[in-house]
Symmetry: C2
Subunit: 226 residues, 2 copies
């Protein structure tokens, strides 16, 4: 009975750990979407809300750290379970950082003048949507221990990179032709770079999920990275 | 006496953990430098050596994971010490990924034709040097628990970003003017992006070092990110 009790308590801990990671993923996804919405509509109040809500992600990361440490210390988990707990610790760190990029995008919303003049303002939300989907899918793959889905996410990063290249070229041409708008264009460039980094970090999480689920890193099928 | 013995064993574990992280940092730094050297000289043997040596980083990351787990489970460390161990776990994950980028650069060395025609081949090594220095400095800051140095690293990332933008523009112009070289130019673009990501990940580590040393994330002084 004691063993059974311990196993049950352990399962509850793991479920709670997964729940916290899922919650972090949900918050990060919404942060990306709302930051992009604030950017497109110029809604500075929404942008401020995104910045404010980022603290919640920091708090959740600390909760994941604490719970993971407690599980390791009290339950002495073996092989597969331990690999999942370590993955949770590392994934929480990366998702917190994804939230930072969304916050950074939100902070730039108020610094863009004459937003209707920029063509990338139609491309950026599409790029943000793909990145937000990557974050969503990679955390679903973690919850489901699904390495195939994790590899899908890794492949999707190529799309984000293609968006970035296209937006970069477009903005550079725009700067050359309209030197007066350089400072706003630079803000958009930083925003595109933040989204590109979100995609890269989601890819990073996907590799961790693959490793936690299979004990192996995914094969090198993604040309942009590895 | 028992307590003293435990404290000593704990200090030894922490020292060993720091040593492993320092070793990972050293390997990652050399991997970046040698990948860039292989790129500039077209030395495919050196490039292959860089690719092969990356396995060592994966192995060291596993060692960090194992040791960190053992310390948490056996020594039940408190507050500051626990924060450092969690930081070590997360930092090991990021440094392993920095190694992946260096490996990815090395893999591209053999795919570039007519290397003397590309102006970025003079800029890329300088960019790689700054990124390798960031990796070196951020791991020194971890070993020394030096948050001021960690913030220096965060600021240096602006230089890497500026290199990236300059190289990107240069390569795009080159592609437009010399369509026959597009495929080699694209390889150089991926290489520049990998270095940019190394800088971003070193920045990420710097934030973790700052947090581990002070319990707080660094203030938002770095415009490119947060």
């Amino acid at each position: 009975m004691v063993v059974e009790h311990t196993v049950k308590a352990f399962d509850e801990d793991i479920t709670r750990l997964r729940g916290l990671i899922a919650e972090m993923g949900g918050l990060a996804e919404v942060a990306i979407q709302e930051a992009m919405q604030a950017l497109v509509t110029g809604d500075e109040e929404l942008a401020a809300a995104v910045v404010k809500r980022d603290k919640k992600l920091d708090k959740l990361e600390s909760e994941v750290d604490e719970l993971a440490v407690r599980v390791i210390a009290l339950r002495a988990p073996m092989a597969d379970d331990l690999r999942e707990i370590i993955a949770a610790l590392k994934i929480a760190g990366v998702v917190e950082r994804i939230g930072d990029y969304a916050k950074n995008i939100a902070k730039r919303v108020g610094r863009i003048e004459g937003r209707h003049r920029f063509e990338p303002l139609t491309l950026l939300p599409a790029m943000g949507e793909v990145a937000a989907e990557m974050v969503h899918d990679v955390l679903t793959s973690f919850a489901a221990r699904d390495p195939v889905m994790a590899r899908e996410v890794i492949r999707t990063d190529d799309k984000v990179d293609a968006f970035y290249d296209s937006i970069f070229r477009n903005l550079v041409s725009h700067m050359v032709e309209n030197p007066a708008t350089i400072s706003s264009a630079a803000q958009l460039l930083f925003i595109a770079r933040n989204i590109e980094r979100i995609g890269d970090h989601a890819t990073n999480v996907a590799e961790m999920v693959h490793y936690a689920a299979t004990g192996q890193y995914p094969p090198d099928e993604h040309d942009g990275r590895d």
